[in-house]
Amino acid sequence: MSLPPTPAQTVGPFFGYALPFTGGGDIAEGPESITVHGLVLDGAGDPVPDALVEIWQADRDGSLTGAPGSLRHDQVTGEVIGRHGLDFTGFGRVPTDADGHWAVRTVAPGPHRPGATPYLAVAVFARGLLHHLHTRIYLPDHADALRADFPDTGADRLATLLATRERDRRYRFDIRLQGDRETIFVDLR
């Protein structure tokens, strides 16, 4: 049996009071944590201030069994109060700010199977984007493994999947929806 799927529609401009949640970018904090941040840019190179970036990733040990609790609630007020920091949920969600900028704090993922190249899986939503996009963030330590995983894709294109190290534990990853250095978006089949 194969049912036809429900079509996608754009997230629109007004998700900001519904989807972002307190602590959405704080996937993991502590001495092991890293910051990954960047801009979402359109085909004119202008920042996209109404995009939503979601991250799904393995834990440091490569485990993909993220725990519940990303949107933990206060039972008195009903407000989202954020994670308690004990379990790794593997999920982050951040809106871009007025400058098109987003940031998450997390841990570098481990290999999700022996020999696998670790990465952060990313979903991007925006006003003007009728169907969300998936991409991946590879940390620069894994540049060679990334090229080995995609031998048919040019190094220039693959570089759009590589975060750059700005300083210790801080990485930059811009998402270019269109144009020069357009980010590679992936289609898992």
């Binding site: 049996m1 194969s2 529609q9 519904a18 725990a67 009728l130 992936v186 898992l188």
Partner: protein
């Protein structure tokens, strides 16, 4: 009231662009073409390079986040509660099942909705069109699907909403839905529409789904058995998540 700039296209120009776009087969007939000129904001926000196909049964994206009792409160699924008074508008319930393309239910997963109020106004600073805000309605809700994949919300029927895509552009009444499956590849954001809305044919967002049968899948149906006497009208909308997990099963 702000008048859109005179450079904005007319409805007739958008209608012509919709007819033109209907002639272009989308890369995936089930979904909108991300390059859809009648929706003008898509022009600079779609990739021009083809997506990179990846076949990897152990990809990170074939797992996904999970949610549980701590992620939703019991009030989250009733958008008419939680503030000082009752929101204005017609009370409705919206319910349905979330399944994958094999028809298997998606249990214990997060469903999030957001919408305009009964006057068509969003509780967002960027929506400043002259319709009243409702102090008793913020317009977002969450729930977890049950073991059968079912979700249910109580809310009010949203109004149509004016926007600046073209002159005299109005979005048909809709509720935004955000859905998770068992895999991150099944992630879905979409919009639910109400049956019989006369604005359907004018709306480039809905029309971006160029196949009529696929468009029809975005429209809830009125279900009289779900209506509650002297209380609420009932709508049913079932959701089928796309994604390769089910494809793998189908191929066996």
């Amino acid at each position: 009231m702000t008048t859109p700039p005179t450079t904005a296209p007319t409805q007739a120009e958008i209608d012509a662009a919709i007819v033109e776009a209907d002639r272009t087969a989308p890369p995936d007939p089930h979904h909108p073409n991300r390059d859809y000129p009648p929706y003008r904001s898509s022009a600079l926000r779609h990739p021009r390079q083809p997506l990179l196909p990846i076949v990897d049964p152990e990809a990170v994206e074939l797992a996904g986040p999970v949610f549980g009792a701590t992620d939703v409160s019991s009030l989250d699924s009733d958008l008419t509660l939680g503030l000082a008074g009752e929101p204005a508008g017609q009370r409705i319930t919206v319910t349905g099942r979330v399944v994958d393309r094999s028809g298997r239910p998606v249990p214990r997963q997060l469903v999030e909705i957001w919408q305009a109020n009964a006057a068509g106004r969003y509780a967002h600073d960027l929506d400043q069109h002259p319709a009243p805000l409702d102090p008793n309605f913020t317009g977002f809700g969450r729930c977890l699907t049950d073991d059968d994949g079912s979700y249910a919300f109580t809310t009010i029927r949203p109004g149509a909403y004016p926007w600046r895509n073209h002159v005299n552009a109005w979005r048909p009444a809709h509720i935004h839905f955000s859905l998770f499956g068992t895999a991150f590849t099944q992630r879905m954001v979409t919009q639910m529409y109400f049956p019989g809305d006369p604005l359907f044919r004018y709306d480039p967002v809905l029309r971006s789904v160029t196949d009529q049968a696929a468009r029809d899948r975005l429209v809830a149906r009125y279900d009289h058995d779900l209506s509650v006497a002297e209380w609420s009208l009932g709508f049913r909308w079932d959701i089928v998540l796309d994604g390769p997990i089910s494809t793998l099963f189908e191929d066996r």
